[in-house]
Subunit: 352 residues, 2 copies
DNA sequence: GGTGCCGATGTAATCGATTCCAGGACGTTC
DNA sequence: GAACGTCCTGGAATCGATTACATCGGCACC
């Protein structure tokens, strides 16, 4: 007797609330589970009476469909995965927010992963997401993966962001990195800087592309990267700081530094401060990404503002569009960075 | 004939690679699916020969278990949900990274949601996560939800972070906000500030607690919040800026401002700059959270550094522990913020 | 040698939905 | 009134795993 009572309590706890399943709803409404499913999935060919009875039962039982069961049977889920190197990079923070907003509007949930630019971690996450049967993946590949993208056997729809890949058979949302870095560097040259060092991220293809734009701008003005002062380094604040410290101690230090992401910019700024050099009079500084701090430091830092929110939102839209039209030909959306001129880039000799 | 051929191609595409299921593995190995499952789940009572045959078939077919099917049957998933107000708040960015690291180590994936402090969105996300059958939820509730936490009928294991809730029946990871704000305010007083304004976030209970610490510190020194200068406002940069601008225009402006999160700190800093007031000589400024920029602006901002990574990691560990021991009594982990003294907080009249 | 236990394996039920298919009711057409 | 199409509904298969239960062989014990 006691045993039975216990069992009942247990059952009640387990069943209530929100634990009713489609069978319970069907019973309560006096219809089949097939009909419940039809009503809930908004199919037509359902009578008004049926619809009402089912909805009443749903209300009464506080029924919530089990999404796991649903995706098992229907072979698709309302979940998308986002793979970035590190969510703490403000660029990816903003992108992730945009992605989440956009997919959420359409009833999708978001898986988030950080790869730390580690191809092994990346491969693992890609596999895990596919095992979870995500509807699609938004993905910022490491340099290695960008190279052999086609070997990655990703079967889920994929949108690549921020970093171009070789394979053309995938949607991409990028900015024109060569052009952005070109404009950024040109701006320094126009303001009178001549020995322009460059700190480029070594983990992704964006570093290479941005270096290309940097070199092109120098070339066109008959300048060259100062020897040993255009370097690929890990995209981390500490690496930026240490490398910049070293540059600034050399015999012929640079009169300006181009950096290609906000972490390197922060590191370089710290180094310049530590050396006690006035910006921009002794050293100019420019970078990428519009961070909170970039506008707050003094002088504020000249940067290329990437349309982060738009990148994330566009990627999410492309992905969900592909759900509808799996065979649509792949698109490559190229957005423009915006040069935001502030105090850190000169002109030389005219700062207050 | 053509039709048949097509069908085969389609099947091949669908099946390969990585599309083998447990039945395929069982057939290839010449055993039952039950045995495959037993081998893969690392159960004992499996012969060596069985293990080898199954593993060989798994290799050969590049089999990956379908996690959706697995969680449907076994009624648990290796996914945890994280619900924050906005991932772009540096506090939550860091926490999310810590959570992801920690759950990933144990083979779990992470769902991320932003509620924008909107109880409706929050309720929706909570429901959605439970429908997805997450293993647990890490959750930073809005003020409203913190109040009626027990009414939320969350059936999944939950760990509340950052913001205490009324119900004691849930794990929590918090910092001692009253004490932190007390120390922060006391520090200003000790440095000679007297008219200390306060900008407190209005969306969460942390704002209230931090105000309590602020008031306590003032009281103990026989001071009071300047009339109309201790305010609850939305935790956004723009709100912080506008409110601070207004404060600084009053007849008797504050000689220092306490802010309770990094967004309000940034806003207040902008306002002080716009008014052309020197920090800390005309106005002192202190806040919460150790952001990149807080150390880079001049003068650098005195703050309470919250142990963000530890908070996230601890919350994740508590959650996964509860998987093992569902009936363990709830724990409340209280961590300490660390006062990081920098230039923005004085002492008055002695800045270089 | 019978009994009982244990370890290894297979068969089949099960999780909770969707979806294929069959069939009944009803209307239309010739 | 037979034939046919359409609309609505329910029964049952299905998705791909886990797991309860049954079976069987071998070994120890009395």
């Amino acid at each position: 007797m006691v045993g039975l009572f216990r069992a009942n309590v247990y059952r009640i706890i387990l069943k209530y609330p929100g634990m009713a399943n489609i069978k319970d709803v069907a019973e309560k409404a006096g219809v089949s589970t097939a009909s419940v499913s039809r009503v809930l999935s908004g199919k037509k060919n359902v009578s008004d009476e049926m619809r009402q009875r089912v909805m009443a039962a749903v209300e009464e039982l506080d029924y919530q469909p089990n999404l796991v069961a649903r995706s098992l049977r229907s072979k698709r889920s309302r979940t998308v995965g986002l793979i970035v190197s590190d969510i703490r990079n403000p660029f990816f923070t903003d992108v992730s927010r945009a992605v989440e907003d956009t997919v959420h509007e359409r009833g999708y949930a978001l898986f988030l992963c950080n790869t730390d630019e580690d191809p092994a971690k990346e491969a693992l996450y890609l596999q895990q997401m596919q095992a979870q049967k995500v509807a699609g993946i938004i993905y910022s590949p490491t340099r290695q993966s960008a190279h052999n993208f086609s070997n990655l056997d990703i079967s889920a729809p994929t949108v690549v962001i921020d970093r171009a890949v070789r394979s053309a058979a995938v949607d991409m949302v990028l900015i024109d990195n060569v052009d952005a870095a070109y404009r950024l560097t040109l701006h320094l040259i126009e303001n009178g800087f001549r020995r322009i060092a460059g700190l480029f991220g070594d983990a992704s293809v964006t570093g290479r592309q941005r270096r290309e734009g940097y070199e092109r701008a120098l070339q066109e003005s008959d300048l060259r990267p100062p020897a040993g002062q255009a370097l690929y380094i890990p995209p981390k604040i500490e690496a930026g700081r240490e490398t910049a410290l070293e540059l600034l101690t050399q015999d012929q230090p640079p009169d300006a530094v181009v950096t290609t992401n906000s972490l390197l910019t922060a590191g370089a700024l710290m180094a310049i401060r530590e050396r006690g050099l006035p910006i921009p009079d002794a050293v100019g500084l420019v970078g990428f990404d519009d961070t909170t701090w970039g506008a707050l430091v003094e002088p504020a830092v000249t940067i290329i503002a990437q349309p982060t929110y738009e990148i994330g939102a566009t990627a999410a839209k492309l992905l969900l569009e592909r759900e509808e039209q799996p065979d649509r030909s792949p698109r490559k959306v190229i957005l423009q960075g915006k040069l935001v001129v502030r105090g850190s880039s000169g002109p030389v000799g005219q700062s207050p």
